[in-house]
Symmetry: C2
Subunit: 442 residues, 2 copies
């Protein structure tokens, strides 16, 4: 660092998040100085195509298309906001090689190439800070690395994708189908032009890999996480769930159970009394279950330029103070020799209740066969509803909806297969787990 009090920041990328970072660093420069005693100056923003660049909040004279201008002596900290994993990886490794500390919000990059990047940073004596990579401006990384560092974390759970949460909330609130709610999310800027990684759970799993690695002190392979997206969630299920007092969320879970780490991303139903059931719109939520602190939950905006910039600039301040280097260098996270072995076992979930919906031709005939199939598998039913457009549904057909007592998930495929063999189903059955808060589970 050239000077503890004056910090020169170079930025790679200047899209929505980059512009928001520029806005915070430039417009709020004096307020930041007053709060932190640090004179933090954005000196450069590298963009792909100067001709096409429109970067509100970042003066033209700071823009360049020359990536090499991030690694000179006039830059202390490199902020990477390009996104993606190809160009960004090269930029981050080049910055590290040039002795720069790096701040990034790039969850895909860290989930897929974290160990290589962290090792390079350790070797170079610099740090990588990434508070904004998970849940944007919610300080969840700080909560794990600092505030709850005295805890053995038994579980983390999270609503980590604002687009999915917006879609699920908006479908139910406005009675919209999935496609219309997705179009809204894109129009409002929550979803990318290509929202595949949001919708299919990949983005959530990237974040879970990062959080679980920190929380459980073991390197979590992204590929080891079982992932299911929200593509199959229909308004019919959201409405039927509401009748049963249940709300659907795309939930990331990391549970340490008897020394086995279970990692999973999938849509689940939560009882209306569950602490995350009321987290709506583009908000995120993260629950951390510590052995001393208990159940700590953070909620708030988990996406968007300003919120992400808030997380990025907080990292810039921690790097500028020298704190981030000490934390990164001292805490043995990511150090292979300190990594505990962990087994990632997706299918071995603890027992839980299940919501199931069957679309049938003929309810009176189908109902006894369906309930019998569950009974024969030893799974008790708590509630059974059948309806035909009442409560209002978004799909045609006659529906049988049921809720089971806690049961082993391993039994479900056989039950569904048996029902498929003896009932004429007009659509694939839907089966969604109903999760209790972690501390209330057996």
């Amino acid at each position: 660092m050239s000077d503890l009090r004056t910090i020169y920041v170079g930025m790679a990328g200047c899209g929505t998040v980059g512009c928001a970072v520029g806005d915070l660093l430039i417009r709020d420069h004096d307020a930041l100085l007053a709060r932190t005693g640090l004179d933090i100056r954005l000196v450069r923003a590298v963009v792909r195509d100067l001709g096409r660049s429109r970067a509100p909040h970042v003066p033209d004279e700071l823009l360049t298309d020359d990536l090499s201008r991030l690694t000179g002596d006039d830059v202390d900290i490199v902020v990477e906001v390009i996104g993606g994993t190809s160009v960004a990886k090269g930029v981050v490794l080049a910055a590290i090689a040039a002795g720069k500390d790096v701040v990034t919000a790039n969850k895909a990059l860290l989930a897929l190439h974290g160990p290589e990047i962290y090792a390079a940073a350790r070797a170079a004596g610099v740090c990588v800070a990434f508070e904004a990579s998970c849940a944007a401006g919610l300080p969840v990384i700080g909560a794990i690395q600092r505030g709850m560092v005295a805890n053995r974390i038994n579980a983390i759970e999270g609503i980590l994708n604002g687009t999915c949460n917006y879609i699920l909330s908006e479908m139910l609130e406005a009675g919209k189908c999935f496609a219309d709610a997705l179009a809204d999310a894109q129009r409002l800027g929550y979803a990318e032009a290509d929202p595949t990684l949001d919708i299919d759970g990949t983005d959530t799993a990237h974040k879970l890999a990062i959080l679980a690695t920190l929380a459980f002190g073991t390197y979590v392979e992204f590929a080891g996480i079982a992932v299911e997206g929200i593509e199959r969630i229909s308004l019919t299920d959201l409405l039927a769930g509401r009748e049963l007092g249940l709300t659907c969320k795309l939930l990331a879970v990391g549970w340490m159970i008897d020394g086995v780490l279970l990692l999973r991303v999938r849509p689940v139903f939560l009882a209306d009394t569950h602490p995350m059931a009321g987290v709506n719109g583009a908000d995120n939520a993260v629950s951390l279950y510590g052995h001393a602190a208990g159940h700590v939950m953070l909620t708030g905006p988990g996406a968007g330029g300003a919120s992400t910039a808030s997380g990025i600039v907080s990292d810039v301040v921690e790097v500028a103070l020298g704190n981030a280097r000490r934390t990164f260098g001292q805490l043995p996270l990511f150090e292979p020799k300190m990594v505990k072995s962990a087994t990632v076992v997706p299918p071995a979930a603890p027992d839980c209740g299940f919501y199931a919906r069957f679309t049938v031709h003929d309810r009176p005939t189908a109902l006894p066969k369906i309930t019998a199939a569950f009974g024969e598998a030893g799974i008790k039913l708590v509630k059974v509803r059948s309806f035909d457009g009442d409560p209002p549904t978004a799909t045609d057909g006659e529906h049988i909806v049921l809720l089971t007592n806690p049961a082993s998930e391993s039994k479900m495929p056989a039950v569904l297969k048996r029902i498929d063999g003896c009932v004429e189903l007009t659509d694939a059955p839907i089966c969604i787990p109903v999760l209790e808060p972690f501390e209330r589970r057996s």
Copy 2:
């Protein structure tokens, strides 16, 4: 610090919190070493009376009654868990004078003597860390000082006293009167033997003073906070509120409105859809409204030995890493020259709705007079209920309950006085504000 990797901790006090700190530092020593790379050793615990001391989790050979043994060369960090403001202040200032960093959870001490203590620490080149002083193990101080440091904070709101929140929850859930719920809280260890400072709002105001000082970057005098406790909240009001979709919480608020800082602790009603309405039992919640991060909320246990110890040990780690000294030394918080002037204006609250209850002799006669008094003051009524033991109430008498549209609080005393003049009231009228979430207020 004698050695970056081995840190010697001396503790002043060894009650509930001290024993929990001892438990974390001793029993989890190796786990902490694995997570932090720091060999943190509790070397001493000073107690008042060795003869009377029973300190589970802290070996007898660490106990001493000699306070001077905290300031020797064999102690790096002094953890103060005595509580109160007399002995504790002397211990903290002596530790600072001896060049020790101090970790404390003592909100009364910091709210009343913060500037003196911070100035002494700055002069000695050491730091004071106090994450556990507000909301115990919830990392709210870290969220303000680090995670949201890039934000101008527009408001903070909090449920900051576990005893009060437990009492209000338990009264409603179990249909208990105030005295019985308080006795339960004492039996469960949430409330002190003398719970006065909890119940009357003082403890909450201590925490608000600390949080507001950090959040708004201005020294907040404890004496400038308007405080009202929960002594007057009856089961009748909790039940009548529930009928109206409202939940009662003892809320601390710090609002920056047009450059004026409004600070207040009082019982309020929150709509069931308010994000804090579902925070029950001994849990705490803190909302931070940042100009970039938006509304960030932390919830979880805000009291108890283990949770407080979690916050204290996280501070010990940050102090041991050297981060706490940098943050304390560099951030201009508490530096008189950096303090902005702030006006604390308790009575000038923004308009809000009000819940009011009148206990009367004769409902048919009283009702028109009461509604007329509000009408003449230009305050519209949203709902009016009158009942006589139905819904079940804990007090005798006939009740008229009403809910107003948003109105200026300054109008209320005159209305209540007018009603007192023309209606025979058998008890003092109850008037409780109904608060919207900060971002939804005009």
